[in-house]
């Protein structure tokens, strides 16, 4: 199953709804292009909704890290929303849960952006 993304704006925050697998190849590329496109258009508050992402490999994890650091380096913020158990477990064992700001509720997440 390939990755599909949809982007919407809520109170100045770009919410990227991800659906599918973030893995080496197409899934990682789609995420990378989406985040870079948002940043190039000045959208620097990015919330990745991973509610429908049931699988992510080490390349996908690397892509999340890349999106996080790229956004931060451009003065923006990137947060994660609604992790599935599998993705949550992966971020726990890789200690990345301590790096990302992870939210369970969209409204709370949107308000959390500065």
């Amino acid at each position: 199953m390939t990755m599909k993304v949809g982007t919407r704006q809520v109170d100045g925050v770009s919410i990227v709804d991800c659906n599918g697998r973030i893995t080496l190849g197409e899934g990682s590329v789609i995420l990378r292009d989406t985040v870079r496109d948002l940043l190039s258009k000045g959208n620097k508050k990015i919330l990745l909704n991973l509610a429908e992402v049931n699988y992510i490999d080490s390349s996908g994890i690397g892509e999340l890290v890349s999106a996080f650091t790229t956004t931060k380096n451009q003065g923006g913020e990137l947060k994660l929303l609604k992790l599935t158990k599998k993705v949550n477990d992966l971020l726990q064992i890789t200690k990345l849960y301590t790096v990302f700001d992870v939210k369970d509720d969209e409204a709370t997440a949107v308000k959390a952006f500065k």
């Binding site: 080496l24 190849g25 490999d57 080490s58 690397g62 990345l96 790096v99």
Partner: protein
Amino acid sequence: MAMTEQRVSYTLDSTLDTVDSAEEKATRIATDLGFGDDEVMQISMAVREGAVNAVLHGNAYASDKKITLAFERTDQALVITIRDQGKGMDLSKIPNPLAPENLLKTSGRGIFLMRSFMDVVEIRPSKTGTELKLIKHVHGPTAGGKEASQ
């Protein structure tokens, strides 16, 4: 594909399709052997990471180099072997992805994830390629929880 009663092996191209194919085969075989859902996910993910290393870092997508993937069911374990035909790897240069200075690196987590998910991970690099062995022990009459036999 070559197959015996307890062992099945595949010779695969050095492509991204091989990575997906290896993962699908691992999922099917682990499921057929009775591993639980979580263990099936762990096995398939470890195989995917092993296949990624073989295709990208081992054979570097070379069309004249092949990946060998084998699954062997013993009385006590599922043994998976992945071989590439690359130049081998220097194990001493694999960084710890949990070290603070490495947390924000965008790569280098594949072997760590394999070690997290499998009971045994053996890596044997040589100048003619790397052999990776992944072992998941069977717990009880059918494959069950990892904690059961530890």
